[in-house]
Subunit: 346 residues, 2 copies
């Protein structure tokens, strides 16, 4: 053992174990997989188990997958691992997957449609059993392709293209409206919304929630659109807002955008919350640090839910809801401190 210089010593296979236990390989297979139909003499089983143990035998998932026609592996597409909101979703998905014996292959798309298409191809060549798509911008063609091939997938934090897809999202419209309700209740009537990219369902829905709520309250909502979900874009978009007479309240379509607004506000000489009430969306760690009023989303639950939904689909289990919409909660923090606003109202 170990006479080979560069290569590691070969793993022992089912045949090695069979020889050691003086049985046929198929008997080893039966002894080691505790299927109900497998009846074999305890003595034989013990001999096999002992041999397997002695040789440190581990079945090859590869060979098994080839035979069983499933890999017990899920793919996951995310636009940016470093985004703390997505990290929570990934964590939840990873945990739920592993709980059911599935591994998770992660793909970071950088929100680039070409990379998404490439990754989907790679994942399918690797025969993952299904994919979780947390990517916001995916070209519809890619999703359409999966639908056409009946390839199992679940959309996470991203609207459905087709009506029949499996989807896990939050109620963006209601949540965005809740933020506006909150701001209006503090007396604000000139509210700005830094919307996410229109090309994403998430961005569109949140903006729609703002518009609807503003109309209902009869207040003015000015909407500027960010091109990406980044702090830098929030800053850029907000800078436009503060050129003329600034609004008294601003709502970023996610926390990063709100942080960008915060920076722009400071540069424009506006204090938060004294001169500008500010809210975000997602309740990321950054929101906590910046004391930001925001919408709390149960990220890990969202990821876990999506993974479980996909696995249920794969295992042919009954699916209660194809379209899961998680509730979200408003978290009020210092950035919309009522005390300050009372002064403003007075």
């Amino acid at each position: 053992m170990g006479q080979d210089g560069r290569h590691r010593r070969a793993r022992s296979t089912i045949t090695d174990v069979a020889k050691a236990a003086r049985v046929h390989p198929s008997t080893v297979s039966r002894a080691l997989s505790a299927q109900p139909g497998h009846i074999l003499r305890p003595e034989t089983r013990a001999r096999v188990v002992a041999a397997a143990d002695r040789l440190g035998y581990r079945p090859s998932a590869l060979a098994r997958s080839l035979r069983l026609r499933r890999t017990l592996t899920l793919g996951m597409l995310v636009p940016d691992i470093a985004n703390t909101f997505l990290a929570g979703i990934i964590k939840g998905a990873e945990e739920a997957a592993h709980e059911r014996g599935y591994a998770l292959v992660l793909c970071n798309t950088g929100d680039l449609p070409e990379r998404e298409a490439t990754y989907i191809r790679v994942l399918r060549e690797r025969e993952v059993d299904g994919v979780l798509v947390a990517s916001t911008r995916m070209a519809d063609a890619t999703v359409d392709g999966m639908r056409a091939d009946r390839f199992p997938f679940v959309l996470v934090n991203r609207g459905a293209g087709g009506t029949d897809d499996l989807v896990v999202t939050v109620d963006n419209i209601a949540a965005a409206a809740a933020v506006v309700d909150h701001l209006v209740s503090l007396g604000h009537t000139r509210i700005a919304h830094v919307a996410g990219p229109r090309s994403t369902t998430t961005g569109a829905e949140r903006a729609a929630g703002v518009v609807a709520a503003a109309r209902r309250h009869g207040v003015h909502a000015e909407i500027v659109e960010a091109e990406t979900w980044s702090e830098a874009e929030g800053y850029r978009a907000a800078s436009q807002l503060f050129r003329g007479e600034p609004p008294t309240a601003a709502f970023g379509a996610n926390d990063l955008l709100a942080l960008g607004v915060l920076r722009a506000a400071r540069e424009a000489g506006l204090a938060v919350p004294a001169d500008l009430a500010l809210a975000g969306f997602n309740d990321t760690p950054e929101a906590v640090l910046a004391d930001l009023t925001t919408i709390h989303v149960a990220q890990e639950e969202m990821g876990a839910h999506a993974a479980r939904l996909l696995i249920a689909r794969l295992e042919g289990e009954p699916i209660a809801e194809r379209n899961v919409v998680l509730a979200a909660a408003l978290v009020v923090r210092g950035s919309t401190a009522a005390g300050i606003v009372r002064r403003r109202i007075a």
Copy 2:
């Protein structure tokens, strides 16, 4: 096509393509893998390519891996995906891996030794070609096992157990010393260090750097140890510090610990930097938000470097350095603002 209700239509295999192109499967294999040794008539190749195209043929990575005895897959063990520092490392690793045709299977260990052992087992059953270990607490037995089996792995941001391991780290000792140098240069003589767990090489090295630098400067360094790398533990550890006469400067072994110190300081009525200079380590987005002086580490580069190192090992390429120590840079921000300290010195 599509007569099957629940299951998706079967993928076409190499045999299907062979039949369609009226050649032998092995010819299809040769036509589609552009190896130098493969000489075949352009006409034949064209016919095969056309057939493959028509059938939407994708080779099965599974079958190929079985035959080739490699999966072009890497495993990666991280203690916590949601940690922004690790997220950067993961991102860099994922990108570098995919660049060379490798996929990355992510495993979140929660820093629990049992889960690490389990995951290593799972990854090896799946026959990943190697693993990246960014986990700080891994039981030495697990690492020893991989070493004994000559199973390829690279340690990331974690000290080596064995001298011959492949390792990518930052120069923790020098960096920690640089922080102390900085604080001393501002006039501080009573410096506290909230160290990471002693059981981790990272924690131990940073503490050692602090001790060495303090001794060199002839100043007092009080060290308290956190049990985990979390904000909560930073808070708990720092609370002890502020019972008696507080230090004038504090250094958290990572940014999260420093944030915990920040919270404790505020509760104790100490303003940062007016009453307490504060520094962290890693330069995470949180450090930027909290305006924290810290050590900048090129996370993505670190992850990418580790992945490339592992792949070089796998592909038998020459390896220049087995033990890569990346430099880190001190980033001075408001939490150790010189102006404030000058007042303190005077």
